[in-house]
């Protein structure tokens, strides 16, 4: 029993370490442009009684710069166009775009600008930055995990929680949670 668990652990370690430790960060260094076609920005808001409201942003742009000598000086910029929000329910989308939530007519962009990147593991980093939405800016943290790197394409899985009330988007609380769970796959192309 224990031998089997140890065996699994050993295999897992062999698989995990060389793949990412090897690509880490010497090879990864450089500037990347986020490719919306192969990226996704999904969010989920829990609701009273279980379940949640799930959605995604269809349009966004951004860049990732990984510093070779000092990971801490790496940069992530991301701009989301909230007009492109989609939940599968057109009435919900219209509500989210309206001045009840994003007010996308007057605030067409949600911006994230990283201020620091801290490595937390072989393939993980904590990205801190300033998030601006509806004219309000607050520091936010996201966890980034390197998902792959090949032929000038880098992929990160990024997760984080944002308190929407701070950005003037508290409508619907407490029926809908104040916490927005972000789940993003960001694919960057070198150059």
């Amino acid at each position: 029993m224990y031998a089997r668990i140890l065996g699994f652990a050993a295999i897992a370690a062999c698989l995990a370490v060389p793949v990412f430790a090897a690509v880490a960060l010497g090879d990864a260094a450089g500037s990347y442009t986020i490719s919306p076609a192969s990226s996704s920005i999904r969010f989920s808001i829990g609701k009273a009684g279980g379940g949640g409201l799930d959605g995604a942003f269809g349009r966004f742009k951004g860049s990732i710069r990984i510093d070779n000598s000092n990971v801490g000086r790496s940069r992530v910029n991301l701009t989301i166009f909230p007009e492109s929000v989609g939940t599968g329910q057109s009435r919900v989308d219209a509500f989210l775009r309206s001045d009840a939530v994003f007010d996308s007519a007057n605030n067409p962009e949600i911006r994230f600008r990283s201020t620091s990147v801290k490595r937390t593991g072989d393939t993980t980093a904590l990205v801190t930055g300033r998030l601006t939405a509806r004219g309000k800016t607050f520091p936010e943290k996201f966890t980034a995990e390197l998902g792959g790197l090949k032929a000038g394409t880098i992929r990160f899985h990024v997760t984080g929680k944002v308190m929407r009330s701070r950005y003037g988007m508290d409508v619907g609380t407490p029926i809908y949670s104040n916490v927005v769970n972000f789940d993003m796959t960001l694919t960057g192309k070198r150059g």
């Binding site: 609701k47 009273a48 009684g49 329910q89 219209a94 309206s98 409508v171 619907g172 407490p174 029926i175």
Partner: protein, 191 residues
């Protein structure tokens, strides 16, 4: 002068009177709120008014169930001698219709939110999650219950207006105690 909680054979007790006026106020208030919430331009205000309408609707439904139980378990005061034969024959079905509408109206609202594809939870007064009725969600079902709720509301408010006009007729024209006995509780000691 001791006033009674229960009805006598000639007068209403205070429980019936309080339930009558509380439900009357809620019923008319809900009609006005329903009218306004469908017409406000702010999506945020609309959302909040709709949640309030749902909260008050559940309160109304609870009070109506209590009132019907109270009515079934209590003496029904006899109609005064001034009431003519036609009205005497019409009073029971008209009162039955009034009870049927005050019960069916909040129930149809509950059905409406239960079948809506928007799946917005019902959390009366932000106190607890009210489960949905076991009805299948679809846009067709939502349209059906929205229409049912609308027709019941307008027919119901019409019945309330007739009921109110009849009460005024009794008071000012026939000069009987039909209106006043719904204001002053019964006093068993004077019988």
């Amino acid at each position: 002068m001791p006033i009674s909680i229960t009805n006598s054979t000639t007068r209403y007790g205070w429980a019936a009177i309080v339930l009558h006026w509380l439900i009357a106020a809620l019923f008319i208030g809900q009609f006005v709120l329903g009218f306004v919430m469908m017409r406000v331009s702010s999506q945020r205000t609309a959302f909040e008014l709709i949640q309030l309408h749902k909260s008050l609707g559940f309160l109304l439904l609870g009070l109506v169930i209590l009132r019907i139980a109270w009515r079934l378990g209590n003496a029904v005061p006899a109609l005064p001698r001034s009431v003519g034969p036609l009205e005497r024959r019409m009073a029971p079905p008209v009162h039955f219709a009034l009870y049927a509408f005050q019960f069916a109206l909040p129930l149809s609202g509950w059905a409406l939110v239960s079948v809506s594809m928007l799946e917005i939870p019902s959390v009366p007064f932000n106190l607890f999650v009210m489960p949905d009725l076991p009805l299948a969600e679809s846009d067709t079902a939502e349209s059906f219950w929205a229409a049912a709720h609308w027709y019941l509301a307008y027919t119901g408010i019409g019945l309330v207006a007739l009921h109110f006009a009849a009460a005024l007729r009794h008071h000012f024209w026939l000069k009987d105690a039909v209106l006043t006995r719904m204001i002053t509780p019964s006093d068993h000691s004077s019988e």
